[in-house]
Every structure is written in structure tokens, then in C-alpha cells.
């Protein structure tokens, strides 16, 4: 596509393409997802005994993946909402890429507690609906809070993705014919672009951004309470709420950088996703890396100083025994590798931030695993320690399938909807933001006004 073509035409180009390579990738990903679905069906028929979960480690890969994907979901809505509220103009090309990550990561993350159930077909019992025994979910359980928190976050994020999409859907509607016109016409809900509609849209987005920040923070805090409300060594900690939220934003930013780099490469968005975006997000990632390091250090020092035997068993298991290789890999991935890359300006390039982000994603998955498993494996009874946790094939296949599902959903979304908000990037910026006014000129204007 020529750079002389209008911005909207270039941004809509991926919707009208469809190469053979794309179809092959989609088919390969769909095959992996189908394998994961088959693994789940087998597990549902045979039972959870097919997995590596045994007493005392009754939470394994599934809950690790649940926490990981909910964390990744913080990439979008939260970051986008903060940038919108602070009116950061550089946010314009990245908000939609980010918001889409949230919706798909929540869809996938929300599935894992269901996959983890012995009778997954009864998952709807979590919903407080009136049945033959009146209504009876246990409101006191953090798992029930998860149901409300994730439902709210998913609904809010979906609406927050949809609202800014409406003007672009109307643009596609006006440029299409046939099924596209019908589809986008229905989704555009008769958007005309009147000034009243623009005014209301911008106001509604601002209001939703304010509300969604509160939801996003609460969601990961509640996920952390699944652990910290239990009297389990290394889980029962007051720091878990902010620690989980910081970790979620950390992994979320990393995922966003990787997705942006892929979009830039595959959809040729070089003009919009510029080095400055990676530089700014790299700085945010650096801040979160430092914050993550601070939280881990604060937690570890407190546990070590307290010297409680049951806590120390879990502590040593992570630092120098069974889980030490994973623990030190996590520290390297989340801090030792990304810190120099992101702190040195010369290294904070697109390639540099992508390398740092890739290590962070791996490190944050390991961090979730190291929260879930060692705490359960190292309990108070000595014989518990003999029984470790080794994931079996269904857990591994389903975990791989979740990554494939995320990629597949994102690819399909990029073929149906513009990945960069067209109206936001073409919106005329206020003069003060577009061109900085030199001090001398500003003084001259002020004098003239006086």
C-alpha cells in the first residue's frame, strides 16, 4: 500500500487482504487449539486424575495460567484508560491493540478455573441464580468474588473496546458493500458523526476510563485474595494485593510491546507504531520491573526475618532447593535481563524492548507458577514434601493451546477490525500539543493581548 494513500485506506488495508500465509497460520493455530480442546474433553471424561495434580498440590498449571492470563489482561484496558485520562497524545495508535489484548486474555484466563473443575459442566453454579434450592453460592468465598470481578472486568472491557470502535465501524460501513456493509452497519448502530455524537462519545469514554481503572485494580487484587485469604505458607500475605496488581501491569506492558512489534512487522504499521512508542512503553516497563523487584525483596526479607518454620520451608524450596532453578530464572527474566536493556537509552530500541518484554512474559509465568505450587507443596506435614507436582500431558497441551488461542483470536480480530483507531490518529491535535510554541513567540502573543 502506497504511503500516498489516505491514512484510513492504509489502516483498513489488512481487512481486505487475506494471503495464503495468513490462512496457513490460522489453520496451524486452530489445529493446536483443537488439540487443547480434545485434551480437555479427555480430562473431563476420565477425570482430574489424568493431570499431575495430587494432594497437597491441588492447584497447578491451570491456576498458574489463570493468574497469568488475568495479569496479561491488564495490558489493555488499564493502560489505555490511564493514558486516556492523562491525555497522553502518544497513546492514540496503541490503545486499540491494548484493549483487544484485554478482552481475549480475559476470555482465555476466565476459562481456566472451569477447566480446573472436576465437573466443569456445573460451572454455572457460581452464578447467583434462583434455583430449586433458592440461591446458594458462598458469598464469603474469594472464588465467588472472582466470578463477580472477572464478569465485571470482561463486560466493561468489551464495552470499552467497542465504544471507540463505533466511528471506525461506520467508516468501514460507508466504504463497503454486501455482507461487510450489513455486518459493520449493524455494529456501527447508525453512527453518523454529528458533533453531538462525538461529544457524547468522548465524554462516555472518559467516564468509562475512570470506572474501568477501579475495576482493573480490584480484579487482580481479588485474584490475589484467592491465595492470601488462605492460611497457607507463602500465600497468607498482606502485600499480595498490590504485588499482584504491579505484576499484572508489568506482564501486561510486556505483552503489549510484543504485540505492537508483531503488528508493526506483519501489518506494516511502521508509520504509526514508532520507536517513540516502544521507548515510552519501555520506560514504563522499567518502572514496573523496579517495582516488581521491590515487592519481591520486601516479601522475601519479611519472611526470612520472621523465620517461621512453615514459611521458611517454602522460602528455601524456592531459593535453594527444588524450585531454585525456576526462581533464579524468574529473577533473571524479570529483573537482571530487562533492567540494563531498558535503563540504557541506546539499548531501549524496538528490538531491545521486545527482547526485554519476551523475558518478562516468561519470567511472569514462572512467577505465577512459583506462587501457586511451592506454597502448596511445602506444607506443614513432612510427608507432603515427598509428593511434588509434575504436570502431565493434558495440562501441557492445554497451556500451549491457550497461547495458540490468544494468537488466533488476535489474528482474526486484526482481519475484521482496524487495529489502530483511525479517528484517533487522524483527529486534529490542539495546536499546543502539535507544535510547541517558542517562549519568545508566546511572550509576544501575551504582550499583544495585554
Amino acid at each position: 500500500m502506497s504511503t500516498a494513500a489516505p491514512v484510513s485506506t492504509r489502516l483498513l488495508a489488512p481487512l481486505y487482504g487475506g494471503s495464503r500465509r495468513f490462512r496457513l497460520i490460522v489453520m496451524a493455530l486452530a489445529a493446536i487449539v483443537a488439540c487443547a480442546a480434545a485434551a480437555f474433553l479427555t480430562q473431563a471424561v476420565v477425570g482430574l486424575g489424568l493431570t499431575g495434580m495430587r494432594r497437597p498440590v491441588f492447584w497447578g498449571f491451570y491456576i498458574t495460567n489463570f493468574v497469568f492470563w488475568i495479569g496479561i489482561s491488564h495490558a489493555g484496558t488499564l493502560i489505555s484508560a490511564i493514558l486516556r485520562l492523562t491525555k497522553a497524545t502518544w497513546r492514540r495508535p496503541i490503545t486499540r491493540c491494548a484493549e483487544a489484548i484485554t478482552v481475549f486474555a480475559l476470555m482465555i484466563g476466565g476459562l481456566f478455573p472451569i477447566l480446573h473443575l472436576g465437573r466443569p459442566w456445573l460451572f454455572y453454579w457460581l452464578a447467583p441464580y434462583a434455583n430449586q434450592r433458592v440461591i446458594w453460592p458462598n458469598i464469603h468465598s474469594p472464588l465467588e468474588w472472582d466470578f463477580f470481578a472477572i464478569s465485571t472486568y470482561f463486560s466493561g472491557s468489551l464495552l470499552y473496546l467497542y465504544l471507540p470502535l463505533i466511528p471506525d465501524l461506520a467508516l468501514i460501513r460507508d466504504r463497503s458493500a454486501g455482507w461487510r456493509r450489513r455486518l459493520y452497519g449493524a455494529l456501527a448502530v447508525n453512527w453518523q458523526g454529528t458533533q453531538k455524537q462525538w461529544h457524547r462519545l468522548e465524554f462516555a469514554i472518559q467516564l468509562m476510563a475512570a470506572a474501568i481503572i477501579g475495576v482493573a485494580i480490584s480484579v487482580h487484587t481479588i485474584v490475589s485474595w484467592d491465595f492470601s485469604m488462605s492460611i497457607v505458607p507463602s500465600w497468607h500475605s498482606t502485600i499480595f494485593g498490590p504485588y499482584f496488581v504491579a505484576g499484572a501491569i508489568f506482564s501486561g506492558i510486556a505483552a503489549l510491546i510484543i504485540v505492537m512489534a508483531l503488528l508493526r512487522r506483519l501489518l506494516h504499521f511502521e508509520q504509526w507504531l514508532q520507536p517513540v512508542h516502544f521507548d515510552n512503553l519501555g520506560k514504563l516497563l522499567l518502572t514496573m520491573s523496579l517495582l516488581w523487584g521491590y515487592f519481591v525483596a520486601a516479601e522475601m526479607i519479611t519472611v526470612w526475618y520472621g523465620n517461621d518454620p512453615s514459611e521458611m520451608a517454602s522460602f528455601w524450596a524456592r531459593v535453594s532447593q527444588n524450585y531454585a532453578p525456576l526462581f533464579w530464572t524468574m529473577v533473571a527474566c524479570n529483573f537482571l535481563i530487562p533492567f540494563p536493556i531498558l535503563a540504557i537509552k541506546k539499548l531501549r530500541t524496538i528490538t531491545g524492548t521486545v527482547i526485554a518484554s519476551s523475558t518478562v512474559v516468561v519470567g511472569m509465568w514462572l512467577e505465577r507458577f512459583l506462587i501457586v505450587v511451592p506454597g502448596l507443596a511445602e506444607q506443614r506435614l513432612p510427608f507432603d514434601r515427598w509428593l511434588g507436582y509434575v504436570p502431565r500431558w493434558p495440562e501441557i497441551v492445554i497451556t500451549v493451546g491457550s497461547f495458540a488461542a490468544m494468537t488466533l483470536l488476535y489474528l482474526l480480530f486484526s482481519r475484521l477490525f482496524p487495529m489502530i483507531s483511525i479517528w484517533e490518529v487522524t483527529e486534529p491535535q490542539p495546536v499546543a500539543e502539535a507544535v510547541p510554541v517558542p517562549v519568545a513567540v508566546r511572550n509576544e502573543i501575551q504582550e499583544e493581548a495585554q
Binding site: 446458594w136 468465598s141 465485571t152 453518523q192 462516555a204 486534529p428
Partner: protein
Amino acid sequence: MIEISRRYPLPNPHLERDLASLQQAGIDSRQIAVLSREPLPVELPASGRSRLSLLAVTGAIAGMAGALGLVAWTVYSYRLHVGGMPFFAPLPAGVITYEMTLLAAIVTTVVVFFLEAGLGPGRRVPPHPELQSGEALLSVQCRDLEQAEWVRRILVD
């Protein structure tokens, strides 16, 4: 109704001038529409006052009341003794109430936005697919030929 319209490449001082002229000529603001592919950098008087924030807060309060009612109904419908907590424990109820309050605020915001912006299925969309990014279209729905002539003079001449 006769529609007279004109497209303005942006930025364009003529748009505000023509709008003012139309209002001075006694054209009702409900007959005038300014359409664009992106928000205009200028403030136009056609937007009116929004009740979005007020209704969002009202929705949030309704959500809060609904959540408290739901929790109370649930815990007293099927009484579970959990860790010495009262049936209606403030902290668990607070978590669910918080989530449902924000959900109600978000849903109300979207519903009110749709209503105030005149969106939704079944409404008529004026056919202006030619409108491009970086331009505005000023459209006037004239009552009769005489008014249409006045508007044409303002917009075209």
C-alpha cells in the same frame, strides 16, 4: 424536507462563520447537523448539555443497592457458616457490591450514551459516505423551497 449541504476541508474558519450566519437567519439548530469522521477541533453549539455523568452515578447507586440486596438474599436464603463470620459479613459483601456498583455505572454510561447520541438499530442514517477524514460536512434540513434558497445563499454563495 430539502437537504442542502457543504463540505469543508479542515481547519476552516468558514464553517464557524456559516454556522453563525445560519443561526442569525433563524434556522432552528435541530435542522442543522455538522458531520465529521473525527472530532472537530472547534467547539460548536449543537452538542447541548449531557446528563451522562449524573445518570452514571444514579446507575452506580442502583447497582450498589441491587448488589446489597442480592448478597442479603443469597446469604439468608441458604445459610452457610463460614469461619465464624456473620451471615451478612461486610467485607465479602463489600467486594461484590464494589464490583456490581462499577458494572452498573459502566452499563448505564453506555446505555445513556446510546440514547443521548441517538444511536441504535432502526434509526435513519443520512447517506454521506463521501465524507472523508479531515473534513466536515454541514447539512441543513430545510422546511420549504424558500428556506432552502436562503440556506443555499449562505452556504454556497
